[in-house]
Symmetry: D2
Subunit: 213 residues, 4 copies
């Protein structure tokens, strides 16, 4: 199987993005899985365009996009992307859309087609904190996840795809009090487990990972 896995470049005040740092540490193959690793610019619109080009060129069976979630305690597997851009800070291209649809007339949301519960469970079995998340935010991470799922639903119906958020690296929080972080090796190991689980599990496990609110 061929898996396309992407990570964003650094944005805001950060000089690194744990997403692509961890993605690029992954091996090129896991047994019979071929892994294509791509860095994506943290830019509205452009990010989806770059992703589309790579999907068309590589023709992967699974696409996993990865982004930084500063403040999260776990590797979090996103359940859903919503059809709205609402940027608290400008992206790397200076865009700062507020309350704009990602796809005009598109559905309000798309659910991930990755086995999200199975992935979170497998990462935890690997000893690394993981969970299912019900919001990918309203910035470029949610934007590319919505864009990916829209492409899958309208053009590439044979692909399974979704999004994973990862915490800050330890080195990113040295001057941020009370801010959770995760070791780069752990993040990369978690992503490797996610890739293998996404390829191995067709039907997601039915175990609760729900959130009261």
């Amino acid at each position: 199987m061929k898996v396309l896995i992407t990570g964003f470049d650094p944005f805001g005040d950060e000089s690194k993005n744990p997403a692509y740092e961890a993605v690029k540490m992954l091996p090129d193959t896991f047994e019979d899985i071929e892994l294509v690793k791509v860095e994506i610019p943290t830019k509205f619109y452009k990010s989806i365009e770059v992703l589309k080009n790579h999907i068309e060129k590589e023709k992967p069976e699974v696409v996993i996009c990865v982004g930084q979630a500063g403040g999260r305690f776990t590797v979090s597997v996103e359940r859903v992307a919503i059809n709205v851009d609402d940027a608290r800070i400008p992206d790397n291209g200076g865009n700062q859309p507020v309350d704009q649809a990602i796809v005009e007339g598109g559905p309000a949301a798309y659910f991930s087609t990755l086995p999200i519960k199975a992935i979170a469970n497998a990462i935890r079995e690997g000893g690394i904190p993981a969970s299912v998340s019900n919001s990918a935010g309203t910035y470029v991470c949610n934007h590319i996840m919505y864009g990916l799922m829209h492409m899958i639903n309208t053009q590439f119906s044979e692909i399974r795809g979704g999004f994973i958020h990862v915490p800050f690296l330890e080195e990113q929080v040295l001057d941020k009090p009370n801010m959770p972080s995760m070791n780069l090796d752990s993040i990369s190991k978690a992503l490797g487990i996610a890739v293998k689980t996404a390829c191995a599990v067709e039907l997601d496990s039915k175990q609760t990972e729900g959130t009261i609110c």
Copy 2:
């Protein structure tokens, strides 16, 4: 104008629910706004049925459902409800659906039709912490919000509606370390501001309240 505002009854290990506690403290009228206050059972399915009966009987122009969000720091105005039930604990009727659609074949999500930015802003101007939230969870709160928006979209198109989550009361966190809480008077005052803003503002303000992730 007539506003129907609902609050859930207590669930889980709690003996009070700040939602209905705060709702029932509201006056019956704000100038020309008539307020109908209803307690709703924290039960999947039944909650939507009860809500529907009250909507049909009262014919309100605005519906605001309110629920408890233990762990939140602010009064949070929900942006979106997703079409999934995933219950970490059983509801008050013993139901614990996992990864089930709320409306089979319904859209993946509905956006609130309340002026969510204007409401959050007005509450903050009243001196009370408030924010826009991008996830109402996957429990009965998200369930009733999705149910409400589905009814609005399919039957009651003239109604505007949405959901607001409120923090634990101070008395609920006495034995919960590092758990945020809010004074009952503040919560109730915030809901009063929300009611008035929902009636006064047709077009939501375009100010960012976005979340990176």
Copy 3:
């Protein structure tokens, strides 16, 4: 009985200090308790001098100093003050001592002589989150508490005294994400309970309020 209760003036980026805001709302008497309320400058050295002047003038039987603890979830009754100033930011007089003894040759620490467990317990019984804290920090709050206890131990042995930290006010956290806050009425009510308990309870209750770390 006569109680001297003090609150600091605003410091850092804040325009209010919840400590004196809450202190000044207290009544002048509780039954047979006379309450003297004083605002103290958030300045190393000067704060102790001002406190000493008021103690000499008022001859109180109980002294309670109150300060702001941004980030705390509860009204926290301090157990101990340590003999060190280590200022992360300058005080209101521009002083920023680092690792300096408050009293050269003084003991490493002084314990509060207020009934700290009884006070925390009584505040919780009043429905307001409270706890015993084992660190008053290393800024002006710890400084004045150490100064107070040093005066009590060396000059005013008949006085009982200690320090209470209070959370940010709601209005102080409107632009601070994930920051706990407390309603001003609740803080002031808690301080009133503290005053009454400090006067009524000679021997502190022996109930654990310990912290693993």
Copy 4:
């Protein structure tokens, strides 16, 4: 130089203690530093006795005790130990002292004689979150730190010593929501840096690491 470094055994509901897990991964020597690694029982009284036996037998020049601080985000170098036991849960021997002096008639507190600022700084320079802490709690960690400093002050004046708290391991927080954790390799690397810095730095750096409260 000879360094004695200790870690506690697991306590409470935990099956591992990151303290000794990380200590035992350290090498036996760092250049000219000989490292003696000892596991200490998480028991009041007994822990100090065991520590004393090892000090008398090994005659180290530096002693660093290490313990688990569930809920902390950083490797935290403790500044001070206070003369009180106040146990929220029983220790591994069933002892649960409440508000008892560790050393009857002993001073209220002892400061660490390790270069705490230099250690925290060196760990951060190694890319790992670290800070100075002003409270070691009131459980067995504070108990052994106070006991160590009391022995140093009364019997072993040539020894320098102190205490370091470490976060939960990643595997300990898999079922604890919103709980910070740290990779075992990072914790152990941080302790190695602490050992080397404690041996190399006689006079601590004067940089603020103060806490407002």
